[in-house]
Subunit: 267 residues, 2 copies
């Protein structure tokens, strides 16, 4: 029987990472992939395996993660979106649903088919941590030199060997990665408190093609050490030639990181 | 033995209401007052009873609640603040500590000694709920007419009989209350998503001397019904002459409400 090209179903999903042991399915643990596959199995009444663009760590959030799977039978996009809204838990939302054929009629592989990623790291600068944002920011009571952090961040842009900026158990076969932009911006707080007139939220926005395990969090931890005056801005460039992990800075906490967007061709 | 006037200790506290069964202590339940008194008992090694300015409902947050207690012995403000930082859970923060004598040398009663309160209600307007803010906002997928809500809100300002805007089990002896301002403002989202270009956050800021149980949440629920076109802006004034509860609108969810500030004379 002749068949047409394989049409994969794609989902754009957002989640609060605080309640998940990361993206990747793990037996006995609540994970994003596990919850998605349970919802899809309840809808299709058949096991469904999903493929994500990014394996976010435990505690890391996402607003624009992209997932693909090969449906056992066709359900119209709008109907699948409604069905998912009824089956997914409140901390995991399917924002968008669409169908797409992969290259050469193969299933879509989001890890390779995406057009780059945008991560945002949120830091709160205030003398006392705000209990209403603590799940989503790194609270710092000690002020940072933002201008020094911006000078340091410029060194990350381009193609470099990020070996110093990856987790000890990172499995990647090459440590060469390309970062296209790092922007540091300061924002007023959602709840400005009169008692903390200088309090603000820093966003470290990192754009790139692909990332090593913990890469963004180690970049941010190193930038904060620059902001505190414990490292010089010029100290970043030498770390980007395949240095050892211990020469870079601390790993910033998972809560502050959001996968804002997996860019997707044509969308 | 002659004694000077009673000096009460005051605390300005912030909390994430999501993990508490409200402010007021209740046997066997986790409450803000219960956690504060447990921390103070651990510090003073004696039972300590606290008095709050506002009995916030289960799920309602606070940034500037004020608490008073009468310490069994004196501890310097800075030392007490450090001790509380070590004893309180991460969702409850003591922002400020100071000592004060009440009128006529009596203990300070924050419920009566405060200079007014400022509540903020947060509404997210977006076609899909954002999982990263769901604990702190009321997500509305259906657009609202903000101009109509503002016209309606003006009717609340002044001294009125708010009987229609209180919980069925409210114990207050009078339902006359004075609201000094209601402001409705629109704000960009912390995480603007390209897919939701019109998404925004509405703040309903309510200022007043004192409030009945659930009063702000019923005011906001009624304003949203105006925003949806289910009520006319002119329909608010007749409700403020001692109407029955069922004539006002729904009670907005607790998660969206924050006690931003209890105003305090001289601070």
């Amino acid at each position: 029987m002749a068949r047409g090209p394989m049409i994969s179903t794609l989902l754009r999903v957002a989640y609060d990472g605080g309640g998940f042991h990361g993206f990747a399915r793990q037996p006995g643990l609540r994970t994003v992939q596990g919850e998605l596959e349970a919802a899809l199995q309840a809808i299709y009444r058949l096991p469904v395996l999903t493929r994500g663009a990014s394996r976010t760590d435990a505690g890391v959030h996402a607003l624009g993660q992209v997932i693909a799977f090969d449906p056992p039978f066709a359900i119209p996009d709008a109907g699948l979106r409604r069905a998912l809204a009824g089956k997914l838990p409140p901390d995991l939302v399917a924002r968008d649903v669409w169908g797409e054929a992969g290259d050469d009629g193969q299933p879509v592989q989001p890890r390779f088919a995406n057009a780059g990623k945008h991560y945002r790291y949120r830091i709160h600068l205030a003398p006392v941590a705000d209990p209403l944002t603590r799940r989503y920011v790194w609270p710092l009571a000690r002020d940072v030199d933002v201008a020094a952090m911006r000078r340091a961040a410029a060194a990350f842009v381009g193609e470099h060997d990020f070996a110093a900026f990856r987790a000890a158990d990172c499995q990647a076969t090459t440590t060469i990665r390309r970062v296209t932009a790092v922007e540091i911006t300061s924002h007023p707080l959602v709840h400005p408190l009169a008692a903390w007139p200088d309090a603000c939220e820093l966003h470290v926005d990192v754009h790139g093609d692909a990332f090593l395990k913990r890469m963004v969090r180690i970049m941010v931890g190193t930038l904060v050490e620059v902001g505190w005056g414990n490292r010089l801005p010029d100290g970043i460039a030498p770390l980007l030639r395949g240095s050892e992990r211990h020469l870079a800075g601390r790993t910033a906490p998972a809560e502050g990181l959001v996968l804002v967007e997996v860019r997707w061709p044509g969308r």
